[in-house]
Assembly symmetry: C2
Homo-oligomer: 257 residues x 2
């Protein structure tokens, strides 16, 4: 009972500080071992996975709330983060047997209902450098780890749909904006970059044409160093010319207002 009151109190405090009806969910993309990965959380005492998310403080910009949530899950401060869609179906919380899941959480039913009442959720996607991430669970979850995009299980709520749409948006963005700055280490080789593109788009490309196109954007700087240690011929190392990269991000498309 005391436990229940404590929970009620927690919930009341939470409600006082956060906007009701609206939540945020983040699809965090990372790249490692030639695989595109997504960061997922496992709910306490369950085998059920979901996307990291959060709520918006009453005096906080929505984008800031998304950044905060990201920071809490990954430890990263400067990240590429972009809104991609807002999900508002009444039944988006019923795709999966959430009642079972809530039961496993051990929450009293009325508390549980408030935790997952019908919400509008704003979906963001983030691109992060895999190696720098320290995956950190939140209070509802006891595990936070990367999943290969190909091997993502059935997620809670409408989160599988969110991942699909985020990936679709990422692919489209790739076709008119440079991407990679936030997904690769500072120094990388042209084959690294190509592998990233091929992984995101799910298709192979011609090495020579790819290189020509990338260099044509004028956002890469070839270093004097080469990557050593690998078998075979040592590839050159590149890094992004941040200034030009940012400019290319702003231009965004053929049609700028």
């Amino acid at each position: 009972m005391e436990c229940k009151n404590e929970l009620q109190q927690l919930l009341a405090d939470f409600k006082a500080n956060h906007m009701p009806s609206v939540s945020i969910d983040c699809v965090i993309f990372g790249f490692h071992d030639g695989q595109l990965k997504v960061l997922l959380l496992r709910w306490k005492n369950t085998d059920d996975w979901c996307l990291p998310g959060g709520r918006i403080h009453k005096q906080e910009n929505m984008d800031a709330a998304a950044h905060r949530s990201l920071r809490e899950r990954t430890g990263l401060h400067e990240i590429f983060l972009q809104q991609f869609h807002t999900f508002g179906d009444v039944n988006r919380y019923r795709h999966y047997s959430q009642i079972e899941t809530l039961a496993k959480l051990g929450l009293p039913e009325d508390v549980a209902k408030q935790v997952v009442s019908r919400d509008i959720s704003v979906g963001y996607y983030a691109l992060v450098e895999f190696a720098n991430v320290v995956p950190t669970p939140d209070i509802f979850t006891d595990e936070c780890r990367w999943w290969d995009i190909q091997q993502i299980p059935a997620l809670l709520f409408d989160h599988n749909e969110m991942v699909s749409l985020a990936l679709k948006t990422l692919r489209r963005q790739l076709s008119y904006q440079p991407i990679g700055y936030n997904l690769l280490p500072e120094k990388f080789t042209m084959p690294d970059l190509q592998q990233l593109y091929e992984t995101i788009l799910g298709q192979t490309m011609d090495r020579r044409n790819f290189q020509k196109r990338m260099l044509g954007y004028g956002i890469l700087k070839r270093l004097d160093e080469r990557k050593i240690g690998g078998a075979h011929k040592s590839p050159y190392l590149y890094r992004f010319d941040k200034e030009k990269y940012e400019k290319a991000l702003e231009t965004e498309s053929l049609f700028t207002t």
Copy 2:
């Protein structure tokens, strides 16, 4: 006082039936006289204009709420309607001297504050056939009419920003999707269609190349009729091949999942 209580009651009922913290705003595009137009509302007893909007019923899908709002403002049932961005800055309601405006509305201050408290707003844009629209004000407004996109005044809240972003999205969409089905009458001429494109993109195009491109999409059907009555040579009439048009909308881009 009674008036105030009545308002309080209205507000209480409203809050019981609608999701708090979230609203919807619609940028409704129409096309007439070679001009791209947007439907705006004038607040009661003021000269302040804003976008039509609404709230989401507790048991209503968000898209349905947007459609309902559109229907109420235009009388139209089947409309092209698409979410384009969600606005969540804390200060988005302070771009303009809203306090003055609220004063003019004649609402008691505490009621007024609740009416325009800080919200997340989901922006939709709609393409409608100008001639079929019956502009209809809502309870907060006493005028609803079309404005040339070039002549839109300073709007309340962040609504100018919303119009800009909606237009930008529309322009981008034009570059990889056919548009026109919802903006033109059933039968139209190639010059009509070109004028629509030129108006949206804000640039002129070559007649011959435009026609080649449009016919190349395979979504137009040339009718045997020609448009009569105009001066000069009578142009052919076309209409969209709805089936192929829909298919083209789904394909959406080079990169389909």
